[in-house]
Symmetry: C2
Subunit: 234 residues, 2 copies
């Protein structure tokens, strides 16, 4: 009876953890969507909201860390249960970093002037954002459903984000060279693009964590990687 | 007798963890120093070494995570012991991120042409690097010695790095505006400077973790913060 009680309490601990991570994931998605919406529409008020809300993600991470540690120390879990707990810790960490990256974009919006940027520049960034949001959404679903194949799909698709980022950097450089008037604006867009690309990297980290939960080992396959922005600034 | 044995084994677990973190810290310092040395001396071979060695830091982090989790699950530690273990996990995480940031700088070196940059530009970056390395060194010492006051000194000094970064960004912008020939080079320096600034942020995270070990609660004081690079690119 006592043992059964402990098992039930432990299952409920795991469920609470998993729900917290999913809820935190939803907030992180909202932060990215709003930060970029603020950038595209020059909405400084929305950007300030994003900056303010970042604290909520920090608090989520602290709460998940706390819960994780207590569960580890109290329940001495093994095998897949242990991996579930470690996964919650890792994903919360990725989501917190995603929040920081969204906040960084929002900070730029607050100080950025509307210089009437060429629409195709912003279109590249918008495509990157949509793809990244879709990747994050899919990987969070794969975590909720413990869906290995969906996680692997996300993991393999990251190179698309990298490819758009690389071509965007090349385009931005051309604008800067041609008209120094655009330099400041383009630097902001470059840093924002780099932040979105990093969000994509965190989505693939989460995919790796889902793999680790289900397979009990890290992915050994080589991930396709096309981030050559460092190359194409030359 | 059995209890005493367990206590001794636990102390030894903690010592092993603490030593691993210190060793990982030494490697992270070396990675930053070498990445920046490679940048200042246009040494692509050294840059490639840095890129290759990043895997060692990743492995360190995985090993520390593994050890941490096993210790938590096996020993059910409480109070300061629990905080010691959580701290090892957090610091290993910061050091792994620091390694990534150093690797990012090294990647730029591999593709960067020597455009004969104005020496004062590189001097700003060199000052920033030295200050950041000294901050990291001090904070790792404060962890090894469990020295609260040294940790707090590092925590409060981060604004100096931010201030140099801000003034460097302003200078870089001027060069880019005046001569488009410098644009590519200056963008690489900007991204490198931003990476170093982030390394500084991780050093302050470590300072916060030392505080948490010793005081059992997060720092509530408001940290002086002068990162206005987002502002000064406008």
């Amino acid at each position: 009876m006592a043992a059964e009680h402990i098992v039930k309490a432990f299952d409920s601990d795991l469920q609470v953890l998993s729900c917290s991570v999913a809820e935190m994931g939803g907030l992180a998605e909202k932060q990215i969507a709003d930060a970029l919406k603020a950038l595209f529409t020059h909405d400084r008020d929305l950007a300030r909201e994003v900056i303010g809300r970042d604290l909520d993600l920090d608090r989520f991470q602290q709460a998940i860390e706390q819960k994780t540690i207590l569960t580890l120390a109290r329940r001495q879990p093994m095998a897949v249960d242990l991996r579930e707990i470690v996964a919650a810790l890792r994903i919360a960490n990725d989501l917190e970093r995603i929040g920081d990256l969204a906040k960084n974009v929002a900070k730029r919006v607050v100080v950025l002037d509307d210089v009437g940027a060429p629409p195709q520049l912003m279109r590249g960034l918008e495509r990157m954002t949509n793809l990244t949001l879709s990747q994050l959404n899919q990987v969070l679903d794969s975590y909720s459903n413990r869906d290995l194949s969906a996680a692997l799909t996300v993991w393999r698709q990251d190179e698309q984000i990298d490819a758009i980022c690389t071509s965007l950097f090349r385009e931005l450089l051309t604008y800067m060279m041609e008209d120094p008037h655009y330099i400041t604006f383009c630097i902001h867009v470059m840093f924002s693009a780099k932040n979105i690309e990093r969000i994509g990297d965190h989505a693939t980290n989460i995919a790796e964590t889902v793999y680790y939960i289900m397979e009990g080992r890290p992915i050994t396959e080589q991930r396709p990687k096309r981030d050559t922005t460092a190359l194409h600034v030359t």
